[in-house]
Amino acid sequence: MKTLWLIAEDESGAQIFRTIFKRRFPEMHVPYILPRGNHPNISRLAIDIEDLINNIHVDKRRKADDCIVVLHDLDAQRRTETSDYDKIKKACEKAVKDGLKLLECIAVDEIESWLLADSGVCQWLGEKRGNYDTKAAPKDILNGWLKRKGKITYYSVCGRDEVFKHIVGDGDQKEYSPSMRWAFTALTNASCTT
């Protein structure tokens, strides 16, 4: 079984990416690791990124042609400074230079926009799928849809699990999520999916 190693900024981001990826490539194995702390986030990822990459780099289970994905949100709508993002970018570039097959996948503006573009999730919620990459706070939009559906909140593990059940993984089709399309095209081009 081929492996794609995932480094994500938080648990829900890792779960969304992994669920989508597994829908598309069910034969792939996708272990993930997160930054330290009970509530990992982009700042934590920036602190730990080198250790996280190194952890996978030296893991004896990793094969030379396995891909590593570093996944995080762009957060352009709400971030006030870029140093965390710059640090992550620099660490990823260094890893590539060192010979690792690593891709930095950036969800615009949050990875939940990939869910708002997903036919399964949207059909289940009775909402119109679309390109939410440029909209502010897709997480809140999704939460609003869920509330309309019936008192589930996205900000709970149960609520998120319910959403994940309905993921089809087709949010990268034509006019929907460009950031997801970029990520999956890059993964395919880099032979990370076969």
Binding site: P31, Y32, I33, L34, P35, R36, G37, N38, D48, D51, L52, N54, N55, V58, D59, K60, R61
Partner: protein, 387 residues
């Protein structure tokens, strides 16, 4: 000291070997990963060691003991390897057991003792008693087969090795199981045995009462340790009220002459764990002793965890009294005080079978000069967390 365990066809442990056990070993893993099955497997071994596996089989609901997708012909295999401190030899005692599913009864029991690859002793029982309804006891069994030593070996030495091995497994393993919480006030009728500690810690008061009366030096050490762990305690005692109850009592620094009105669950936990350790010294203290504790950190304040592990390290460092602790935990704060080689990660595969793995070597070089092991555990860098 126990160095290796092997389980086959035991509950979720389809074929699991746990090697290179250390004086302190901690099993971590998600809920239902199989940690308790390991502990229960050790408990099952103690019970089988008596030579009659029937009560152990029945207590474990017979066919529920076996891994799914196995049948009556698949033997349960339990094997323990330990370093005998007297002969300095690595000895392995293996037990094979077949069970008839329909009756929840053993049909075949084979055990043997090996030194390395060399077999010293073997025993096979394949005639088991039949339960006769209406008769309150088992019909006389064919337990006469006490086994035989292999020809051509030093039989005298082999006898000693077998006896010590049986004592080690049967008498020198003490288990505090899942959710243990000793009662601190019991009637005399409820006191229970003075050794070993019961799985739920129920006989703690009996152990401490005996310790105080028969081994006051050991009781003093116990007192010192519990007071060191919980520095509000001045001393502890066992209070006997004639014809009423026996009670574990604590006296606090604030009011050393007045018995404290209540005792917390954490104090009870600590008392049970320390009593299990000190009870080894009642007899044959030079023999190895193994304490197996499920979630010792339960009810302990996070600020006490380091002290507790320090105490355990002190206990296992005495060359005159070889001691060992095997524990389970869900607590990353507890894990922070262990070395990676002391930790085993328990997980289940897609078929539901348990695997037990060491922490990968790279974890040490990547993380541990900067961060605690528990903190790294939560990054998912070495498993042992729910999916």
């Amino acid at each position: 000291m126990l160095t290796r365990l092997h389980f086959k066809n035991w509950r979720s442990l389809k074929d699991v070997t746990i090697d290179n056990l250390t004086p302190l070993t901690v099993f971590i893993g998600a809920n239902s990963s199989g940690k308790t099955n390991i502990v229960d497997g050790l408990d099952f071994m103690i019970k089988m060691m008596s030579g009659d596996p029937t009560p152990a089989v029945r207590a474990n609901r017979g066919n529920k003991t076996r891994t799914l997708n196995t049948d009556d012909e698949d033997a349960l295999v339990f094997s323990a390897t330990y370093l005998d401190p007297v002969s300095k030899k690595h000895l392995t005692y293996e037990m094979n057991l077949k069970i008839e599913t329909a009756k929840d009864l053993p049909t075949y029991f084979h055990s043997h003792l090996c030194e390395g690859e060399k077999r010293l002793f073997t025993q096979t029982i394949d005639k088991f008693p039949i339960l006769v309804f209406g008769i309150s006891r088992w019909r006389e069994a064919s337990w006469a087969d006490e086994g035989h030593f292999i020809e051509g070996i030093d039989q005298h030495e082999a006898e000693h090795l077998l006896r010590r091995t049986k004592i080690f497994v049967q008498e020198r393993w003490q288990i505090l199981g899942e959710g243990f919480l000793p009662k601190l006030a019991v009637t005399f009728a409820e006191l229970g045995a003075i050794y070993p500690i019961q799985n739920n810690g129920a006989n703690l008061v009996a152990i401490l009462d005996y310790m105080r009366d028969a081994h006051p030096n050991i009781f003093t050490l116990f007192q010192q340790d519990i007071a060191w762990m919980l520095n509000h305690i001045e001393h502890v005692d066992i209070n006997l009220i004639k014809d009423q109850e026996a009670r574990f009592s604590i006296f606090e620094n604030a009011h050393p002459s007045i018995e404290a009105p209540t005792i917390s669950a954490g104090t009870a936990h600590i008392a049970a764990m320390l009593a299990a350790y000190y009870a080894f010294d009642f007899k044959n203290q030079e023999l190895p002793g193994l304490v197996i504790i499920e979630e010792p950190d339960t009810a302990l304040n996070p600020g006490l965890l380091e002290k507790f592990v320090e105490l355990l390290r002190d206990y296992v460092s005495d060359p005159e009294k070889p001691r060992q602790f095997i524990m389970t935990t869900h607590n990353p704060a507890f894990l922070d005080f262990f070395q990676p080689e002391e930790v085993r990660v328990v997980s289940r595969d897609e078929q539901g079978y348990t695997h037990v793995d060491p922490i990968p070597e790279h974890i040490k070089e990547v993380w541990l000069d900067k961060y605690g092991l528990g903190e790294v555990w939560m990054t998912r860098a070495f498993g042992g967390l729910p999916e």
